[in-house]
Symmetry: C2
Subunit: 745 residues, 2 copies
C-alpha cells in the first residue's frame, strides 16, 4: 500500500501533464489508492506507459532484486566491453546521421562528437526510469547545445523511452513528430527543458540543480536522503560565448552546486568556422574564477575511461559544480567533413554518409540498432523501474516518520496546491489607504509563501525596490540552501532561465523573479522560453511606466506591455490596486503552464471601488457604470496606474450627465479567453465610443477601442523628471480622457 | 586655411547634430571655408559654443603655444599639489551630493567613491576640448555604471563643458534639463553614449575602442598618427555581473584592444547589500582568462599616485585591454552611510549631508566650486582648444599627402555620405530569378561597402546563414584591425551594444550586425538603446518567420515584428523581394539617427511586379490595383514573404471580377510619417474591406485593417516541420486571404 502510494505519487505528474494539455481532468483510470492518501487528490493515470511502468515495478522489481546502483553509480558499474561500448556509441552516431539525412535538415556534427559522453551518461551513470520520465528522483539531463538534439533522441530511444521509437526517429523534424528540431520538453517526455537558443540550457541546469539542493536541504533527514539526484548538462562553444551562461555559472559557483556536472563539448568549431576567429579566452581559467572545479578530458572521441574518471572525480567534489571540458571532434567519423563547420548544421549527404559508414565500419541499414546494443540497453527498463520502486519504498517510510514534510514535498512533486490556498490572498476596500502595487505585491508574496510550499524566488539585485523579500525566510545560499529568498545579483537573463529550470524540476515549484519592467529586455529570451516550455514562472516587474520618474527613459518602459501582449502563452497582468494585485497573484499561481508577467507601480495608487479578484480573472471587467441596458455613452478603459485616471474622468463626465462605463483591462489574454457573451457585456459592439488610457505605447489598443475610438498613451521615449510632471507633459491625464471622450461620443 | 578647414571638419559634427534634431539644415552660419574643401558639403555651424571654440583655437592656440601633452599625457603632466587634488575631488563629491539632495533623487554613492579616479582622468589624463565635445580625436569616456551620472556631470562642469553649467547641476533630474537621471548622449554634449542599463556601457566602450583601432589601422601613416585616442570606462559590480559585459570583454581581449582602459569600481556593495550575497567570483582571474591585463589599485579613495601609476602601466600594455580594479568605499566621506547600500540610490538627507560636510572639512554652500579649484580646471578650455588646433594642423598636412584617405576619413568623421551612394543599390525586375531576401541583403551590403567607407559589421556566428560577409574585405582581427568583417561570436547582446559604440564614435560609421530575427530577444536592450541614443545601427535579422521551417518554435519569430513596431524611434522593415530589400537599405543608410531592423527571409521569394525603392521609402504603397477612383472592393495588405501570397490571392479574386488593391506594408513607421493625403491614397478610409496577411502575430494589425477588416497571422508558437507544411497548417495561404476577402467585401 505504501509503495503504491508513492508510486502513484510520481505518476501523478504524468497525470497532471495529461490533464493540463487537455484542459480538464480525464477520469479514465482513477487511481485505486488515491482515496486513502493524505496528499491532495489527483485524478488519473496516463494510460499505456505509466500503467506499464506500474506493472513493471509492482511485478518485477521486488522479484528480480536488481542490484540498485549506489549514488555514485559510475563507481559500481561493472564495465561493459570496449567493443560493445564502441558499437553503442556508433549506433548513436548513425541514428543521428540517418535521421538528419532522412529529414535533410538538422545538426549531425554534435551527436557524432558527443556520442561517447552521451553513452557514458545514459548507459553508465544516470539514474532514470524510461517508462516514467517524470519519476521525481531521476537525474536530470540538459542538452544546452540544443541543436544537437539527435544525440538526446538517440539516447532516449536506446534507453527505452516511449516517446522516441524508431518511427519517431524517422519523422525527425516533421510535422507533429515527437522529435522536433530542438529539444522541447512539451513535445517529448524525457526532455527536461526546451533548448536551442544558446546558453539557456546551462542556466536551466543551474535552476534544476538549485531545485535539487533546496529540496534536499529542506526535506532530507539524517536517516533518509529522499531527495538525491544529479544534474548533467552538455554545452558547446556557442553556449560558452553567450553572456547568460557566464551569469548562470557565476551563480552556480557562488551557490556551490556540487551536484551540477557540465560537459563542455570543446570542439573548436562554431558555425562561422574555427573558434579562433572569435573565442580565444581561457575557458578553464574563467570557470575556476567562477568557483567551479574544472577537469579536462583530452580525448573525448574514444577516451571512455577518461570520461568515466572525470565523472567520478566530479562527484567527489561536493562543494563546487564541475566543468568537464571534453575535447572532441565535431562530426567524428566523417572522413571529409569532421572537424569543420560544414558538419555542424546540415545533412552529410548520401556520399559522405556512405564514406562515414565505411570509415567507422558500419555495415547496417539506416536506423538499425544492432541486437547486442539493443540487448545491452534493454536493462534500463527494469533497472529504471527498480530505481523508482526503491525510491517509492523509501518515500513510504519517510512519509510515516515525517508526515508533515512528506505532505509538503508531495505537493511540490505533484503540483497539487494545498486546497484553499487562495484564502491567503489579502482583500481591500476603497477605504484601505493606497499603496504602490509593488508593495501590495510583497504582501501577496509573503501571504502566499505561508501556504505554498513551492514558492521560491527573488530579485536581480533589486529586492528592496521590487519588494520581493519573503520576510519569514532567509537567503538561499551555499550554507543555507533550505531558505527561499534567492539572490540573483544583476543577472536578469540567467535569473529567468534559472527559474525555468526550477519550474520544470517539479510541477509544484512556483518560482518568481523580479527586476524593473524595462529590464525584461535583458531576459526576454528566457521569458519566451517560459511561455513556450510551459514553465509557470511569475515575473514580478516593478517600476512599470514613466511613473517611476527621475531615472528617465532608460528605465521607463513604453513598448513593454505591448511586446508581451504580442507573445504567445504568457499572461501580461497590470493591476490597478490591492484587489487587482491579489487577483493577479491568484491567476499567476493558478496558471502553472502559462507564465505571468506582473507590471507593478513604483508610485502609490488608491484602492478603487469596484475592483475584485474575480474581475481580474476575467481579464477585463466593468468597475463602475451609470448606464443601463448595456448602452453607455462612452466606455473608458484603463489599466494599472491609469485606471484611477479613467475613474476620475468618469466622475467628471457623469457630473455633466454622461453615462459612462469604466473598464479595467488588466489582462488582454484572459479577456480573450472569455465567452463572446461576456465580452459583449463588457464591450458591447454597438458602443463604438471608447477611450483607452495607459502610460505606454498605444500600439495594439486599436483592436480594443476600434476604428472610432481613441487610444491615449505614449508613443515616444520617456523623460527624466518627477513622475507627476511627466504624466502632465505627456498628456496622461483625466483632462485628456475627458476631451477624448467628448470627441468620440 | 588648412587649419580652419580641419577645424570646420570637427565642427561639422556639431552641425549635423543640430541639423538632425531640427529635421532640416539651418543655414544660419554658412561655413566660410566649406566651398574650398573636397569633403562633402555641410551647411552650418552650431552657433555660440562652436564659434567660441573656433575663436579660441584661432586666436589663442598658435599664440600661447601651450605645452601639448604627449600621447601618454599622464607621464608628462606636472603634479598638482595633493591639497588641491583633494579639494578638487571633494568638489566633485559635493556637487554630486548637493545635486542629488536638491533633486531628492539620484545616486550619490558612486560619485563619492569614484571622485578620485574621475579627477585623475578628467584633470590629468584625458585629452578633450570642452568647447567642442565632438572633436574627433578626443579621448572617449563611458560611465558604464550610469546611475553615478552626477560624477560625470560634475566632471564636465569643472572641465568647462557648456552643457553642464551650475544651473544644469541645480536642475539635475528635472524636466527639460541637460542633466537627466542617467547619462544620455542625445541630451548632454560631452556624454558619449547612453548608459544606465547595466553592462551596456562597457560594451559601448569596446565598440568605441574597436572604432579607434579600426580607423587607426586604416588611416594612420608611418608619418602621421592621425587617429590616436583612448577609451576609458568606469564600471561597477552591477556591470560585472551582467552577461553582456563578459561577452564584450571576451571580445575586447580577443581583439587585443590595447587602448581600452576600464576602471572597475570595486566597492563590494550593490543594491541588495554586500556583494558577498551574490557575487563571489574572482573577477581579476576572470579578466585574465579573457585576455586582459589586470591591475589592482588597493586604495581608490585617496591613493592618487596608485591610480596614476596604474594608468601609466595600462598605457604601456599595448596589446591587451586593461582592467584597473580600484577598491573604493561607496559614499566615501559620509560618516554614517559610507560602505552601505543606503548611500547607493537615495539622497543622503540634510543631516547626513551636514555630517559629511563636517567629516570632509567642507565649509561651502551647496554647489560651490572653490576658486582655486575653478582656477585649476580653467586651463582645460585653452588646452582643449590647443589639442584640437594641433590635430587640425596635423590633419591638414595629412590631407595634402593622402587626399584619398583623408576624404574617406572625413566622410566618417562628418557623417556626410558620398554623394550618389544610393546609385550602388541593385535593381530588379519581375523577370529576375527569385531569391531569399537574406541573399539579396548580402548583395546590397557588398554593393554598399564599396561606396560607404563607414560600413562595418558582422554576425553573431551566423555569417553564412545571415549572409553578411563583405567579400572584398577580410576579418577585423587583432592583427588585421583595418578589415571590415567583424566576427562577434555567439554574443548577440554585446554585438548590439558594441555597434552602438561604433555608431556613436563618429557619425559616418554605419555599423550593421546580424543574427536570426528571433534572437533579437537576446539583444533587445542594446537595440532599445540604439533607438533611444540615436545610434543608426542596421540590424540584419534573417530567418524571419515560420518560413525557416525545421528548426522549430525556439527559432521562429512570432511576436517580434510587433514588438519592434511598438518600440519608439526604430524602423522595423520587412522587404518582400529584391527592390524592397534595396529600398530597405536605402532607408537604413539614410536614417543615421534611427536604427533599422531588417527582417529577412530564409526562403526564396519571387521578384514581384510593382515593388520599388521609392515605395519602400513611403512605408506602405500600392503594388497593384485594378480599381479606379481609389475605390477598390478590397485591399489586401502583406509584408515580406507574405506579399507574394497577397498578390496571388489578388490574381484569383480579380479573375472573379473583384477590384483588388495589393498594398505592401514594409514599414509601419515610415507610413506613419507620410501625409494624411498620401495615407488616404493607399488606404482610403471609405474602404473598410481590408485583409492583412503576415506570418507573425496579428497583434497591432487592427489599426490597419480596422474594425471591419481581417488580420491573418499566427497567434501561437510555431512548429518544427518543412516550411511549406507549416504555412499550410497555420493557414498562411492565398486561399485563406481569398476567403477572408470574400467575408469582408
Amino acid at each position: 500500500m505504501a509503495s503504491s502510494s508513492s508510486l502513484t505519487l510520481s505518476q501523478a505528474i504524468l497525470s497532471r501533464s495529461t490533464i493540463s494539455r487537455h484542459g480538464s481532468a480525464q477520469q479514465l483510470h482513477p487511481s485505486p489508492t488515491s482515496a486513502a492518501l493524505s496528499i491532495p487528490s489527483f485524478s488519473g493515470l496516463k494510460a499505456a506507459s505509466s500503467s506499464a511502468a506500474a506493472s513493471v515495478s509492482r511485478r518485477r522489481a521486488p522479484a528480480t532484486r536488481l542490484p540498485v546502483r549506489a549514488s555514485a553509480a559510475v563507481e559500481t558499474l561493472e564495465k561493459t566491453t570496449d567493443a560493445l561500448v564502441e558499437k553503442s556509441v556508433n549506433t548513436i552516431r548513425f541514428l543521428a546521421i540517418d535521421a538528419v539525412e532522412k529529414a535533410n535538415s538538422g545538426h549531425p556534427g554534435l551527436p557524432m562528437g558527443c556520442a561517447p559522453m552521451g553513452h557514458v551518461l545514459y548507459d553508465e551513470v544516470m539514474r532514470y526510469n524510461p517508462k516514467n520520465p517524470y519519476w521525481f528522483n531521476r537525474d536530470r539531463f540538459v542538452l544546452s547545445a540544443g541543436h544537437g538534439c539527435m544525440l538526446q533522441y538517440a539516447l532516449l530511444h536506446l534507453a527505452g523511452y516511449d516517446a522516441v521509437k524508431e518511427e519517431d526517429l524517422k519523422s525527425f523534424r516533421q510535422w507533429g513528430s515527437k522529435t522536433p528540431g530542438h529539444p522541447e520538453n512539451f513535445e517529448t517526455p524525457g526532455v527536461e527543458v526546451t533548448t536551442g537558443p544558446l546558453g539557456q540550457g546551462i542556466a536551466n541546469a543551474v535552476g534544476l540543480a538549485l531545485a535539487e539542493s533546496h529540496l534536499a536541504a529542506r526535506y532530507n533527514k539524517p536517516d533518509s536522503k529522499i531527495v538525491d539526484h544529479y544534474t548533467y548538462c552538455i554545452l558547446g562553444d556557442g553556449c560558452q560565448m553567450e553572456g547568460i551562461s557566464n551569469e548562470a555559472c557565476s551563480l552556480a559557483g557562488h551557490w556551490g552546486l556540487g551536484k551540477l556536472i557540465a560537459f563542455y563539448d570543446d570542439n573548436h568549431i562554431s558555425i562561422d568556422g574555427d573558434t579562433e576567429i572569435a573565442f580565444t579566452e581561457n575557458v578553464d581559467q574563467r570557470f575556476e574564477a567562477l568557483g567551479w572545479h574544472v577537469i579536462w578530458v583530452k580525448n573525448g572521441n574514444t577516451g571512455y575511461d577518461e570520461i568515466r574518471d572525470a565523472i567520478k572525480e566530479a562527484k567527489s567534489v561536493t562543494d563546487k559544480p564541475t566543468l568537464i571540458k571534453v575535447t572532441t571532434t565535431i562530426g567524428f567519423g566523417s572522413p571529409n567533413k569532421a572537424n569543420s563547420y560544414s558538419v555542424h548544421g546540415a545533412a552529410l549527404g548520401t556520399k559522405e554518409v556512405e564514406a562515414t559508414r565505411e570509415n567507422l565500419g558500419w555495415p547496417y541499414e539506416p536506423f538499425h540498432v544492432p541486437d547486442e546494443v539493443k540487448k545491452h540497453w534493454s536493462r534500463h527498463t527494469p533497472e529504471g523501474a527498480a530505481y523508482e520502486s526503491e525510491w517509492n519504498s523509501k518515500f513510504a517510510e519517510y512519509e510515516k516518520k515525517y508526515p508533515e514534510e512528506a505532505a509538503e514535498l508531495k505537493s511540490i512533486i505533484t503540483g497539487e496546491l494545498p486546497s484553499g490556498w487562495e484564502k491567503a490572498l489579502p482583500k481591500y476596500t476603497p477605504e484601505t489607504p493606497g499603496d504602490a502595487t509593488r508593495n501590495l505585491s510583497q504582501t501577496n508574496l509573503n501571504a502566499l509563501a505561508k501556504v505554498l510550499p513551492g514558492l521560491i524566488g527573488g530579485s536581480a539585485d533589486l529586492a528592496s525596490s521590487n519588494m520581493t523579500l519573503l520576510k519569514m525566510f532567509g537567503d538561499y545560499q551555499k550554507k543555507t540552501p533550505e531558505e527561499r529568498n534567492v539572490r540573483f545579483g544583476v543577472r536578469e537573463h540567467s535569473m529567468g532561465a534559472i527559474c525555468n529550470g526550477i519550474a520544470l524540476h517539479s510541477p509544484g515549484f512556483i518560482p518568481y523573479c523580479a527586476t524593473f519592467f524595462v529590464f525584461t529586455d535583458y531576459m526576454r529570451s528566457a521569458m519566451r522560453i517560459s511561455a513556450l516550455s510551459e514553465a509557470g514562472v511569475i515575473y514580478v516587474m516593478t517600476h512599470d511606466s514613466i511613473g517611476l520618474g527621475e531615472d528617465g527613459p532608460t528605465h521607463q518602459p513604453i513598448e513593454h506591455l505591448a511586446s508581451f501582449r504580442a507573445m504567445p502563452n504568457i499572461l501580461m497582468l497590470r493591476p490597478a490596486d490591492g484587489n487587482e494585485t491579489a487577483g493577479c497573484y491568484k491567476v499567476a499561481v493558478d496558471n502553472r503552464k502559462r507564465p505571468s508577467v506582473l507590471a507593478l507601480s513604483r508610485q502609490k495608487l488608491p484602492n478603487l471601488a469596484g475592483t475584485s479578484i474575480e474581475g481580474v480573472e476575467k481579464g477585463g471587467y466593468t468597475i463602475s457604470d451609470n448606464s443601463s441596458d448595456n448602452k453607455p455613452d462612452v466606455i473608458l478603459i484603463g489599466t494599472g496606474s491609469e485606471l484611477e485616471i479613467a475613474a476620475k474622468a468618469a466622475d467628471e463626465l457623469r457630473k455633466e450627465g454622461k453615462k459612462v462605463r469604466v473598464v479595467s483591462f488588466v489582462s488582454w489574454e484572459l479577456f480573450e479567453d472569455q465567452s463572446a457573451e461576456y465580452k459583449e457585456s463588457v464591450l458591447p459592439s454597438a458602443v463604438t465610443a471608447r477611450v483607452s488610457i495607459e502610460a505606454g505605447t498605444t500600439f495594439g489598443w486599436h483592436k480594443i477601442v476600434g476604428s472610432k475610438g481613441k487610444a491615449i498613451g505614449i508613443d515616444k521615449f520617456g523623460a527624466s523628471a518627477p513622475a507627476g510632471k511627466i504624466y502632465k507633459e505627456y498628456g496622461i491625464t483625466a483632462e485628456a480622457v475627458i476631451a477624448a471622450a467628448k470627441e468620440v461620443c
